[in-house]
Symmetry: C2
Subunit: 158 residues, 2 copies
């Protein structure tokens, strides 16, 4: 019977592996759809309503706006998304996800979606709250940490 401390250590070790294997799964799905992982990632952001702005999406994907233009070219060619003019600002674009290949996508994600669904259904309120809190705060922490990495040339700020 593991104590609190051992559990925390186990969680800290399991976390990076989970992220790694999940990323690999995404890559496998992308390959099956004859699409790059970045395209798939962008499609998720688009479909999730996170943003529809090229510049913002490029930032979230961690690529330059130049690279994002080609990414969009590919996504249109693969019928994943489409460009639309922004009536409020003629410099900008508004991106829209296309439903074309969503069925295919949902099918590929089905096993994982089922796993997540079943696993979450087994948790009680307190456990779910903890999980959601950890994930959302972790997302914010990761985003903030990405843009504000400590200076490795300095000594450790004990």
């Amino acid at each position: 019977m593991p104590d609190q401390r051992e559990l925390a250590t186990a969680a800290a070790l399991a976390l990076p592996r989970f992220v790694g294997s999940t990323a690999l799964f995404h890559a496998a799905v992308a390959e099956r759809m004859a699409v790059t992982p970045t395209e798939l990632h962008c499609l998720h952001l688009l479909h999730g309503g996170v943003s529809d702005s090229p510049t913002e999406l490029a930032r979230l994907l961690g690529i330059s706006t130049g690279a994002f233009t080609r990414l969009l070219d590919r996504m249109e060619r693969h019928r994943l998304a489409e460009r639309a003019p922004d009536p409020a600002d003629r410099r900008r674009l508004v991106l829209r996800p296309l439903p074309d290949r969503m069925v295919e996508l949902a099918e590929l994600y089905a096993p994982m979606a089922r796993f997540v669904g079943e696993r979450l259904a087994r948790l009680d309120r307190r456990q779910l709250t903890a999980l959601v809190g950890f994930l959302t705060d972790g997302t914010a922490a990761a985003e903030q940490a990405s843009g504000n990495l400590p200076d490795v040339t300095q000594a450790i700020t004990s």
Copy 2:
């Protein structure tokens, strides 16, 4: 006050964002160390004792063995790891992580490590158990699903 169902939905939505932002954070750390994200990922697997075999690591990283050879070249050049002959099988190699840049790495990870540590310390046993279970089972599910994706050409298996 969200009910069980809303919490599960929130978790399902928060999960991919967490994975995405974490991957982006890793990429930022890698860039700071003048190293590719794949090198960093490999170093983690190596340092975590997951495996020290080139073929196995290539599989875990999702790249070919040929690409892994160049990856190793870079990692040796960057003083992240080194090759060593396997005395039991002269075809094989045994890889060893080098401690050289570990301090730098730990420093870059410090903010996230601190966040994770603090967040986990706030959870009770039941919550931690749920989190660890979700992560470990999720890792296994993702690995299995990667190698066994459903066939999208077939009709939906209602």
